[in-house]
Symmetry: C2
Subunit: 414 residues, 2 copies
């Protein structure tokens, strides 16, 4: 009899089973890593490596999982945006720009020359360079957010630089793709760049003002949880708009959050509602990254060498490039900004996949870049935790959060 149901339910059952395994594995590893005082994100990514095709093969990457992962990171950046007042980003705008530019230039050059030295073609080398550029700010945001340090100046610089980084990455990828196809239309390139810059600047400057103006009207809506629902719509809407313009969806989500950062007095409620979604969906994002890792590359010694070299270069160039971009701040702050920009995560993977899709990069370069993307994402969180640990103790921000939770419970009991 269950076979009758199976006919209708097989797909759903299998999908829900996959989601259950991913979620349970992620939370289990998060717990283990918290206990050994390591960042939970690392545990969750490793959970993906373990249950993914590389080790146990319980869950395979799929379109559905990648969509859930994308929604997860969209909500993560939306949450981060909610804690970011636009003024706080504008204030660090100049420094963030320098950090982004240096943090893009050095990795690109390093990637280019490593590939050339490894007998890569010109087009291949350009693509490896481009894959080294992207920063996956979701990882950093998750670690800093869980430490309660998103309002530090260095966190603002990292967030601002990540937005600029993404636009620069778009330009480089466009350029590299055109070059590898043999034709560059500078007019089209200029158009794409202008659209991306205009969209970002416009939403960052005007979004917040519009939402502040609309705030009272939103509160008058009859629908339940009006601010949260408007936030959901704005978040998805700007994410889609970002994709159409060519930048990552998370840029739109971040801008949506930022537009709402000042608009509402109901921050706590909004946060709690949003963090429910985040807590549920972000594990799929982290596990997905881990599942991408292909440990089979370790069977080929030459690829291992390449992968390790690319990874070291990826870490060193962001660290030095972004650190130098923060010249004039303390050494500690320079280091904080440097490590915050190290994770390549899903962005590096997407660039490598585009290169593979165009037939420009060979499979061993693809394997090495994939390894680099996951490895930098695993290396960065412990470093971030290390370089930021004293700040947390000094601020005691975590205590504040705990207090809020307790008083909420009292509210309920009382």
């Amino acid at each position: 009899m269950p076979t009758i149901f199976a006919a209708a339910a097989t797909d759903h059952t299998y999908v829900l089973l996959s989601l259950f395994i991913m979620l349970a594995a992620a939370k289990l590893m998060a717990e283990v890593f918290e206990r050994i005082k390591q960042p939970a994100v690392v545990g969750e990514i490793l959970a993906g490596v373990i249950i993914g095709p590389s080790v146990l093969g319980w869950v395979a990457p799929s379109e559905l999982i990648s969509i859930l992962a994308e929604i997860g990171v969209i909500f993560l950046l939306f949450t981060v945006g909610l804690e970011t007042k636009p003024q706080a980003i504008f204030r660090v705008g100049k420094r963030a720009t320098i950090v982004a530019v240096l943090g893009v230039a050095l990795p690109f050059v390093a990637g280019y020359f490593i590939a050339i030295a490894w007998d890569g073609s010109f087009a291949e080398a350009m693509f490896i360079g481009a894959a080294m550029v992207a920063t996956s700010v979701g990882i950093t945001a998750r670690v800093l957010g869980s430490m309660g340090l998103l309002d530090k100046e260095t966190s603002r610089i990292i967030l601002g630089a990540a937005v600029i980084d993404d636009i620069l990455g778009l330009i480089i990828l466009s350029l590299v793709s055109s070059v590898s196809q043999g034709s560059v239309s500078y007019a089209a390139l200029a158009k794409t760049t202008a659209a991306a810059v205009l969209f970002t600047v416009f939403v960052a400057l005007i979004g917040s003002k519009i939402m502040n103006r609309l705030g009272p009207s939103v509160e008058r809506l009859k629908v339940s949880k009006p601010f949260f629902n408007i936030g959901l719509i704005l978040c998805l809407g700007l994410s889609v708009a970002s994709l159409y313009i060519g930048v990552a969806a998370i840029i739109g989500a971040f801008l949506a959050g930022m537009a709402l950062a000042e608009a509402t007095e109901e921050q706590t409620k909004m946060h709690r509602l949003t963090s429910g979604v985040t807590e549920f969906l972000v594990p799929f994002f982290l596990v997905s990254i881990g599942m991408q890792l292909d440990l089979a590359i370790f069977r080929d010694a030459s690829v291992v060498g390449l992968a390790i070299l690319v990874t070291i270069a990826a870490v060193a160039t962001k660290l030095v490039g972004c650190g130098l971009g923060a010249w004039g701040m303390t050494k500690r702050e320079m280091a904080q900004i440097g490590v915050g920009m190290v994770p390549r995560g899903e962005v590096g993977i997407v660039v490598a996949q585009i290169g593979l899709g165009l037939g420009v990069i060979s499979s061993h370069f693809f394997g090495a870049v994939l390894f680099m993307a996951v490895a930098t994402t695993l290396i960065a969180p412990p470093l971030i935790k290390l370089f930021y640990s004293e700040d947390r103790d000094r601020d005691g921000t975590e205590d504040v959060i705990v207090q809020t939770d307790i008083s909420e419970d009292f509210t309920r009991i009382g």
Copy 2:
């Protein structure tokens, strides 16, 4: 240039655009319906009719959307379970059983005879009967939950009856499917039934005790929001288990919520976190139902007649059957229980799809059942609101909720 990105992003862009349209349309219609004092769920289902293939064709049903819809209704029933102490259900167990049995028998017989009268085959008539049986408790739960009336005795009876209803539906569907295939294995049927009953009773009886026992250990976990995360895992886990056993995933989700209902003092926090997920995902469930409606059946006058007849019978038999099951309560309470069991929603659609898949029911019966499933789901909420409206005024439950929210904001400000 954007074409380069398009290669990698098209699918995601299209999917995210669809989700954005569904969410925005659902919330817009919810707002409109709240303003004209009608239930928001009806607006959200109608949003699906409008943007779906029947009218505008902006969004089409897809595997991904149906999974998101399923996760949405899973979380909805999980939330309802969180507000349901097991004892409260056991106390009404006997009455809920009678309500379920009569609410299953009458619609089945009515569906059977309508199909026979309409020149349907024996197998076809059995299937139409089976499709009339299922109750989509998600709709009722949503309406009662938004009115703050889930703790009323009649709400408990509806919830208990819906669980039993689903098990009876499983048995009937199994039987009908076997008969239509020409062979009935009573041994297999007994096994399925036993598994479904044992699973439900076991989890309902023991789940809560286990979680109460584990509560202090859960609180000691290092992972962030431990209760919520354990809840998520339990919710998905029991949903998957339910599907394997043959009952609907929402039964498992409801049982998971109920198991946690007593375990934590952190109800408010848990609720807020869960309701964030619910608020985001339930619209996909409601819009999906609306998108299933095929208005093309109205081109064939004889199907229209059949559809309307089936719908009237579906409403009348649940109303009378379930109402009579509550004999001994006040007439008002009998009516409340009756209307609460009317919506067929996704369950009726699934049964019809299985019949179509087996080649047992013809397309005009399928169209009529589809219409009935959506129509009953649209008719019930206003009736529920009407029959429960006085209770809400008397209880003033909504005021309590508003108060909690305000004190939370003060906690933050203070």
